[in-house]
């Protein structure tokens, strides 16, 4: 039912878009219709696919490294009150810096290749994962911790057998959020300086008034992001189900 509703909404939006273009006669370099975008997407599929592979690689690497770092930092902060006191303000301060403003610096430091784009994605992915997982680790139900204490548990064993599993639903939320954010980081990195990737292709098409190609690249990026989100959702579904069962 939801699928049918979503499909109907998409068809309606596309029809409205096509009708607007036809009725207003707006030039194709300002707003191409969806039929033209689809045609360009098909005829330029090899070009778009090549750039999409580059962007997808940046996103996946950024997601992998950013989530890994986020998980590691959350574990460190959850295990040590000293680390929390020392590092948490730095982490919060780091989030007051607009990540987009860092893109030129990262390009300067890491060059025009893959590195600067992956670094942008890492920066964007890191905080939601670290923050959500840390929150989960610090909110272990008190009853479990009491039980562990009466069992004379070792702190590391409590972390492994109780606190981490109890925090997995929170980590799942962070990872799903990061799957949405990661493509933004990669594309911004490509906008600042790149020779390949969907962000680069969009800028190139825009500069040559090939708005239909720009929309086709945007459409591809959107499909990539949606696919990534649903893949992450499926991968983390058992953890989310655990939270629902526990409620």
């Amino acid at each position: 039912m939801r699928l049918v509703a979503g499909f109907s909404a998409a068809v309606f939006a596309l029809a409205l878009w096509q009708a607007t273009v036809m009725l207003t006669g707006v030039p194709r370099f300002i707003l191409p219709g969806p039929a033209l975008v689809a045609e360009t997407w098909w005829t330029s599929r090899a070009l778009i696919a090549g750039h999409a592979v580059v962007t997808a690689t940046e996103i996946l690497l950024g997601l992998l490294i950013g989530a890994g770092l986020g998980i590691a930092v959350a574990l460190l902060l959850a295990s040590s009150r000293g680390a929390r006191v020392f590092l948490q303000p730095i982490l919060v301060f780091s989030q007051t810096l607009p990540v987009f403003a860092l893109a030129p610096i990262l390009t300067l430091w890491l060059g025009y290749g893959l590195g600067s784009k992956v670094a942008m994605a890492v920066l964007i992915v890191f905080f939601p994962v670290a923050s959500a997982f840390l929150d989960g680790l610090l909110r272990t139900p008190r009853g479990y911790l009491d039980l562990a204490r009466t069992m004379q548990a070792r702190p590391l064993a409590v972390l492994w057998h109780i606190r981490i599993p109890a925090a997995l639903p929170a980590l799942a939320s962070g990872l799903r959020l990061s799957a949405v954010y990661a493509p933004i980081g990669a594309v911004i990195g490509e906008w600042v300086g790149a020779s390949e990737g969907l962000g680069y292709l969009m800028l190139l098409a825009n500069g040559r008034s090939k708005t239909d190609l720009m929309f086709a690249a945007l459409f591809t990026l959107s499909i990539l992001s949606i696919a990534l989100f649903y893949a992450m959702k499926a991968a983390t579904e058992p953890w989310s189900r655990q939270a629902r069962d526990d409620a």
Partner: protein
Amino acid sequence: MSQAPALRVSGSARLPEAVLFDALDLELLPARWTCLLGPSGVGKSTILRFIAGLDTQAVFQGRITSDLGPNIPRNVAYMAQEDLLLPWASIRDNLALGARLRGEPIDQERLQRLLDRVGLSKLANRKPRTLSGGQRQRAALARTLMEDKPLVLLDEPFSALDARTRSDMQDLAFSLLKGRTVLLVTHDPGEAARLAHRIVVMSDQGLVEIDPPPGDAPRAVDDPDMLAAQGRLMSRLREGG
């Protein structure tokens, strides 16, 4: 398991802005069930938490002594109102939790024996969410027994169960915890009248010991003496201890 100990709690407890209880003197007899009754907020569960070495909002000033020696919390098994079964772990893994948390090998034979005794062998690989309230509480009881400690602290463990399951659980717990010193915190006068060797009512005025009904525990649910004792206890609680 070491021999069932006697235990004595004497002292007072303060909350940040009030006295929780003062000049309290509670004695647990070895291998006996002591039932602690009283209104909410009087400090029953706090006493239990002090004995178990758990954090509370109150500060205890006094002594907790036992023939177990100084490290009483090491000899305590604890069962709370919530079953506290880990939802991501199977029933079998929940029973093995204590050993895993201490990094000890799991006594599989004992685990299986306990699963048999609480009637959960066929459900051992299921997750807690697939079990009924009574089955979950039986699993929690088996986990408590897996700890094999001489002193068992029960904090209203059967209060969320329906009447029939509760009486079944009372019988099962009484039989499985034989030979251990048990402190049962409860709101239910009937539960105390069925299970107690000693009944202690706690109120703002302190502790009052009430004679348990005659006959061996666990007493039958329709035992006239037990029902009369339940009535007397109820009246006493309604009068404020």
